[in-house]
């Protein structure tokens, strides 16, 4: 195994949640759901960041975050259709992970302070002036466009790996197995992940319920 269950379920859950976010953001009837889905995504980002330190081998940042030179060389190999013999993310892919995580985190955080100037105020928008909330909202919208671009880049890269370079990455993200992944994950991974998810959810959802206005 290369991808543990938390990485896989997390990935596809986030696909669904972000898909929902793109059409619920501008909908007055769905805006409360949009806010809660954003909080769920923030919880997931927090989990994924912690999992990047205490998770399984290929889930860790140390496994895939590369230096600028490594990232450059990884992109070069990608364009030249050279397979990289790594079980986890390549350094180019690692950059994608960081970009996607960072954008989702920033989107979720700005959303907490955002307002639609009609009926919706983010749960923490009372902490800032209404004009600041307006500025944060503009940034929120800008970030959403950046996220779309980054997702398109991610999907194109995966399509390249999958279609042109014949690497079964999509299957890998479904069943978790990839060439070179010899490890087997036991119950401990399940329990540890559950613990980290619990801590993140308690802190973020609990904290927001305590200080936020819904």
């Amino acid at each position: 195994m290369v991808w543990d269950v938390w990485v896989r379920v997390g990935h596809w859950l986030v696909v669904a949640l972000i898909g929902f976010q793109f059409f619920s953001g501008g909908d007055l009837d769905l805006i409360d759901w949009h806010a809660w889905t954003g909080i769920a995504l923030l919880t997931w980002v927090a989990f994924r960041v912690l999992w990047g330190f205490v998770g399984t081998r290929h889930a860790r940042f140390s496994d895939f975050v590369g230096s600028p030179a490594q990232i450059k060389s990884s992109f070069r190999k990608l364009t030249q259709r050279q397979h990289e013999s790594v079980a986890g993310h390549t350094h180019a892919g690692g950059l994608g992970v960081i970009a996607l995580l960072g954008l989702v985190a920033l989107l979720a955080m700005t959303g907490l302070f955002a307002t639609d100037d009609i009926i919706f105020d983010g749960p923490l928008s009372h902490w800032v002036d209404s004009d600041v909330a307006g500025t944060v909202t503009s940034v929120h919208h800008l970030l959403s466009k950046l996220l779309i671009l980054t997702i398109v880049g991610h999907v194109v890269a995966i399509a390249w790996h999958q279609g042109v370079m014949k690497e079964p990455l999509i299957q890998g993200m479904l069943h978790g197995r990839k060439a070179g992944g010899q490890e087997a994950f036991g119950q401990a991974v399940l329990v540890r992940g559950l613990l980290v998810v619990g801590v993140c959810a308690l802190t973020i959802v609990g904290g927001l319920l305590a200080v936020g206005r819904f």
Partner: protein, 144 residues
């Protein structure tokens, strides 16, 4: 990393607070306050529509209707530009903007009469129409 990002966002938010709309004065400030009050009304309305509190719906709808009928007076020529979020299209397409203000006035009037008739379904759809008229105008005449 999250803490760093959060810190950066907070600092940037505070910094922009110093230069943003806080500087609004005169008619720009007045209309901003009226729009802000309208948002509060919208929130009260949402709750009141859910609980079919027709007295509360009527009161807020009357307030919105009054604002809708006066709104254009709060957009004199030359009152655009920062810190206002009104787009130049308000004045370059004054007819279109006035028509939207008219739609808003009609939508709020319908909400008033729906509340008076105590018809829950009509009230709910009239409230939706009011919210839609806010959004419809923001899309064309307010900076994103």
């Amino acid at each position: 990393m999250k803490r760093v990002i959060f810190g950066a966002v907070s600092v940037w938010a505070l910094a922009s607070a110093a230069v943003a709309h806080s500087g609004a004065t005169g008619v720009v400030k007045e209309r901003m306050d009226r729009f802000e009050a309208s948002k509060d009304s919208a929130k009260v309305l949402r709750g009141a529509v859910k609980s079919a509190d027709f007295a509360a719906i009527e009161a807020e709808a009357v307030a919105l209707n009054a604002w809708a009928s006066e709104m254009l007076e709060y957009f004199p020529e030359g009152s655009g530009g920062s810190p206002s979020e009104a787009l130049d299209t308000v004045w370059s397409d004054w007819d279109g903007f006035s028509a939207k203000a008219g739609d808003y006035e009609m939508a709020t009037a319908k909400l008033v009469s729906a509340a008076q008739s105590q018809d829950a379904a009509a009230t709910a759809s009239a409230f939706k129409a009011v919210m839609g008229s806010c959004k419809g105008c923001h899309d064309d005449y307010k900076a994103d």
